[in-house]
C-alpha cells in the first residue's frame, strides 16, 4: 500500500513540477503594465516640459536653446527611452495574454518599435547610446514578434523568461534614466527637471527686470511659470525618479525570481517578492499621480 501511495505521489508531483504558475505570470504582467504606464507618463512629461520651457524662454527672453539637453530628449536619447519602455510594456502584455490564454496581437506596434531601434543603430551622431541596449531592444522585439504566432503557452512563457538578460538590460536602462546607475552621475530625468527649473528661474529674473515695461504680460508669464515650477517641485519633493527606480529594481528582482520559480511548485519566494513588487509599484504610481495633480 505504501508503494502505491508513493507511486501516486510521484505521479502527481511530475506534472506539478512541469506546470507554469500562470497566476504568478499574470500578477507580474499586471505590475509591469502599471509600472511601464507610470514610466511612460513621466518620460512624456519630462520631454514635453523641457520643450515648453524652451518655448517660454524663447518668447520671454529670445533665448535660442539649440544644442541643449532637451533636444537630446526629443532626439535619440528620448527615442531610445521611449522604445525601450514600449518593448517592456509589450513584454508584460504578452506574458499577461499567455497567462489568460488570450490572443495577442501587437505585431504592428512591435514592427514599428523594432524598425525604430534599428534606425537608431544606423543614425549618425548617436554614439552616446549604448549599442547593447539598442541590440537588446531589437532582439526582444524579434522574440515577441515570433511568439505572436505561438500557440504553446508554456513554451512561450519559457522563452520569454529565458530572455531575462536582455530584458534586465532594457529595464536597467530605464532605471538609469529615472534614478541613475552605478556611477555617481545624476539621472537624465532629474537633470532635466533641474535644468528646466533653473531655466524658469532665469526667466523669472528677466521678467522682473522687464516688469516696468510690460507689467500685464509680465504678470501673466510669472503666473504661468509659477505653475510650471510647482509641477517640477512636486516631482523633486515627491522623489518620483527614485520611487520609479525602486519599483524597477523590485521588478528586476521579481523577473529573476519568476524566471527561476515559474516552473516549480514552491512559490513562496515568488509570493514574497511579488508583495514587494506590488508595494514598490504602488508607491511609484502614487508618486506619479500626486505629481500630476
Amino acid at each position: 500500500m505504501k508503494y502505491v501511495q508513493r507511486a501516486l505521489l510521484i505521479l502527481l508531483a511530475v506534472p506539478l513540477a512541469a506546470c507554469v504558475n500562470f497566476g504568478a505570470v499574470k500578477g507580474f504582467s499586471d505590475e509591469t503594465a502599471k509600472l511601464t504606464s507610470a514610466t511612460r507618463d513621466e518620460f512624456m512629461f519630462v520631454a514635453k516640459d523641457c520643450a515648453d520651457v524652451a518655448r517660454v524662454r524663447r518668447i520671454v527672453e529670445g533665448v535660442n536653446t539649440q544644442g541643449s539637453n532637451c533636444e537630446k530628449l526629443a532626439g535619440a536619447v528620448g527615442e531610445l527611452t521611449s522604445h525601450t519602455n514600449d518593448v517592456l510594456a509589450v513584454y508584460g502584455k504578452k506574458l499577461g495574454a499567455l497567462a489568460d490564454a488570450k490572443q495577442f496581437d501587437y505585431n504592428a506596434d512591435l514592427q514599428r518599435t523594432k524598425a525604430a531601434f534599428t534606425g537608431l543603430k544606423d543614425r549618425e551622431g548617436v554614439a552616446a547610446l549604448d549599442p547593447a541596449v539598442v541590440n537588446a531592444g531589437i532582439a526582444v522585439a524579434d522574440l515577441l514578434l515570433k511568439l505572436a504566432t505561438e500557440t504553446q503557452r508554456k513554451e512561450a512563457v519559457e522563452q520569454l523568461l529565458a530572455e531575462k538578460q536582455r530584458i534586465q538590460l532594457l529595464a536597467t536602462y530605464m532605471k538609469t534614466f529615472f534614478a541613475g546607475g552605478r556611477t555617481e552621475a545624476r539621472p537624465i530625468y532629474q537633470l532635466q527637471l533641474q535644468e528646466d527649473d533653473s531655466g524658469l528661474e532665469d526667466a523669472v529674473s528677466s521678467l522682473k527686470a522687464l516688469s516696468s515695461r510690460e507689467p500685464i504680460r509680465t504678470r501673466e508669464w510669472l503666473d504661468d511659470i509659477q505653475a510650471r515650477r510647482e509641477a517640477l517641485k512636486k516631482r523633486v519633493d515627491g522623489s518620483v525618479g527614485s520611487q520609479l527606480g525602486s519599483a524597477i529594481d523590485a521588478w528586476l528582482h521579481s523577473l529573476d525570481t519568476l524566471s527561476r520559480k515559474a516552473f516549480e511548485p514552491d512559490w513562496k519566494e515568488w509570493k514574497d517578492q511579488y508583495e514587494q513588487l506590488k508595494s514598490k509599484v504602488t508607491a511609484a504610481t502614487d508618486a506619479v499621480d500626486a505629481a500630476r495633480r
Binding site: 524662454r57 527672453e61 544644442g67 541643449s68 539637453n69 536619447v77 532635466q192 533653473s198 528661474e201
Partner: protein, 153 residues
C-alpha cells in the same frame, strides 16, 4: 615625445598619455558642471530694471548656454585613444579657476559676458571634439580669450 604631447607642451599644459580604455565622463566633471550652473545663477544678479533690453537678452542667452553645457557635460563620455594625449579633470578645473580669476577682475557686463562666452565655447568644443587636437586648440583659445578679457579689465 608624441605629436600630441608636443602640441600639449606648446599649449603650455603638460598632458599625460592615455592608457587603454581611459575615459572622461560627466561623473568626473562635477566641479565644472556645478561651476557652470553657478555662473548662470549668478548672472541673475545683473538683471536690473535699468538694464537695456539687448543686454538683458544677452545675459539670458549666456545663461541658457551655460546651463545647456552643464547638462551636456553630464552625459559626456570621451574615450581617449591609448598612447595619445588626454585631458584630465585637473586641467579643466584649473582652466575654470583661471576663468574665475578673470571674471572676478572684469568691471563691465560686456567683459563678464565675454569671459563667460569663452568658457562656453571651450565646453562646446569639448562636447563635440573628435580629436584631442581640437580640445587642445580649444584650450589654447580659451586662455587667449580670457587673457584678452583680463587685459581689457
Amino acid at each position: 615625445m608624441t605629436l600630441a604631447q608636443q602640441n600639449a607642451a606648446a599649449a603650455g599644459q603638460p598632458l599625460c598619455t592615455a592608457g587603454f580604455g581611459e575615459v572622461l565622463t560627466g561623473a568626473d566633471l562635477r566641479v565644472a558642471i556645478d561651476w557652470l550652473n553657478a555662473q548662470a545663477g549668478a548672472l541673475n544678479q545683473a538683471k536690473k530694471p535699468s538694464l537695456g533690453v539687448d543686454d538683458l537678452l544677452a545675459i539670458a542667452q549666456q545663461q541658457a548656454d551655460l546651463r545647456a553645457k552643464a547638462t551636456g557635460l553630464i552625459a559626456l563620455n570621451i574615450q581617449w585613444l591609448a598612447g595619445q594625449a588626454k585631458v584630465e579633470v585637473e586641467h579643466i578645473n584649473d582652466a575654470l579657476a583661471y576663468a574665475q580669476g578673470v571674471i572676478d577682475k572684469v568691471k563691465t557686463l560686456k567683459q563678464h559676458l565675454d569671459a563667460i562666452a569663452a568658457v562656453v565655447n571651450f565646453f562646446g568644443s569639448l562636447l563635440t571634439a573628435k580629436k584631442i587636437g581640437e580640445v587642445i586648440a580649444a584650450g589654447k583659445k580659451l586662455k587667449g580669450d580670457l587673457d584678452g578679457a583680463s587685459e581689457r579689465a
